[in-house]
Symmetry: C2
């Protein structure tokens, strides 16, 4: 028999994952504190509940696709009955990016109540969430992996099995986020510098993406700048959060990370300028605003 | 008739280019202030001269493959007879990374003496120099391009034709170097952070190169760290120089670039610790030295 799944958090990632789960034949019950994705989920055959506990009642698995450790903790532990309503010995699949120590702590809390916990942060963006092709950086007990398998098959193109305890998945993800955040900020610093030098930015994109200066993020984000389209595919606030986690760990462990500290400041400056909820390529707009450069603006439809 | 070419500067890039020119059937006369590459060049059919002027005498083209603007200027203009010894109206192909204003100034000086000048910085590393597959970011007059064509065909896999005046090629290259330098420093910050978190670095390399945190430089340089091999494929001092050019332009034009400023400091710290002439991935060793981490060391052969 196919497991039934609750998805807690139906933002751009959670909704796409819920739809991928439905498409693979699983029964999905969703919940979000706002009404994100409710209409879409029900139109595709899912069920929407009035609370996290109601969504989780009677399910084999709960996927938590919220923003951070605090929201994950609240969804799982603060609301009465989320865990106790699940079928006994079910699995929690935790997808938010968080500090490794929080993943360890939440894993212990969930396991202490007789459930299993997979530390399973995700990468790939909302498009790949919707097509079931995410990358999952996972760690947890063999039982957690076995129970999670039907869900991982539905949402992921690649599942990295990185260790047998929660915390390792979170560690890999935060290393990825350090690089991703620095590379977005570097792409924005470089493309505005190119504009300051008077270069044709479309040509810069062509040359750099074929050269040693390329990064996954340069290739992915600079088209937002060239098109003047800053509608949020991933928001500035995500990197304020994730590079904040990196820097918190750095301070706790006396590990200096000056580059990611500098990138965090660029995201903070962009959020301070009122663009926190817009696309993370808005760092380029912030620099252009300071320095009086004209970047491309979106052509009206 | 095939043109004859002088190559001034026979370091890892210049020697490879000289060999690529020979392989395509051109007559090559080389010079270096040290004895870099002399034996190899003559063994492959090239000629080595006792001075830049002697190498350039009677040639149709001079390729300058030295480190910076000052060396380029010295090779072309300070030494008696380099330009006047060339065939009249020959072409200078200038490959060093330099500030756009220096490329403009040198181009004007060369053209004032009746020669042509191609601003032609190169990218791709010594391996591609040797196989004739470099990327060239070029700008100059149509005549300069036409005269340079046989040489560009011999050394390059891709030639970007970026404008009709010197300076534009240099501008594209310096934007590339901003990104390349930040990405190397970020790769070193991230891989040492991963070590601090206790992760399996080989697994980190596997996961990151398949994820959104990847960059051309992460993929290319982290194997040096994993193998503990810091023999210089590109030295720390190169990025002290190139990010220095970026920051000089930033100060001159009141254009703040905090990320590349921070990356420059990491390369300076690495040079200060005595690793200036070693591979640029030595930034990871510098961080490991500060923080007491054990990175892999080379296995003895």
């Amino acid at each position: 028999m196919q497991p039934t799944v609750a998805v807690l958090g139906l933002g751009s990632m959670g909704l796409g994952m819920a739809l991928s789960l439905l498409r693979s034949g699983l029964a999905v019950n969703g919940y979000d504190i706002a009404d994100h994705g409710f209409a879409r989920l029900t139109s595709e055959g899912g069920v929407v509940s009035a609370s996290a506990a109601e969504a989780a009642a009677g399910t084999d698995a709960v996927l938590v696709v919220v923003v951070n450790a605090a929201q994950t903790e609240k969804a799982l532990l603060a609301e009465d009955g989320v865990l106790s309503g699940m079928k006994s010995a079910g699995v929690v699949i935790s997808c938010a990016t968080m500090a490794p120590k929080d993943a360890i702590r939440l894993g212990e809390a969930v396991e202490a109540r007789g459930f299993h916990y997979l530390d399973a942060p995700i990468s790939g963006g909302s498009k790949k969430a919707g097509t079931g092709e995410l990358t999952v950086m996972a760690s947890g007990s063999p039982t957690a992996f076995t129970l999670a398998e039907p869900m991982l098959n539905a949402i992921a193109g690649t599942v990295y099995r990185l260790g047998d305890k929660p915390g390792t998945g979170a560690s890999f993800k935060i290393v990825n986020q350090l690089l991703a955040g620095v590379h977005i900020a570097a792409a924005c610093e470089a493309i505005t510098f190119a504009k300051r030098l008077g270069l044709d930015l479309t040509k810069v994109y062509e040359v750099i993406t074929a050269s040693a200066g390329n990064s996954w993020m340069f290739e992915n984000r600079i088209p937002h700048v060239l098109g003047g389209d800053y509608s949020p595919q991933s928001a500035v606030e995500i990197f304020v959060k994730d590079l904040g986690i990196v820097q918190d760990i750095g301070r706790d462990t006396r590990f200096p990370m000056p580059l990611s500290a500098s990138a965090l400041q660029l995201f903070l400056m962009t959020a301070a300028a009122g663009m926190g909820r817009e696309d993370d390529a808005s760092v380029a707009r912030m620099i252009a605003g300071l320095t009086g450069l004209d970047l491309p603006t979106a052509t009206k439809g």
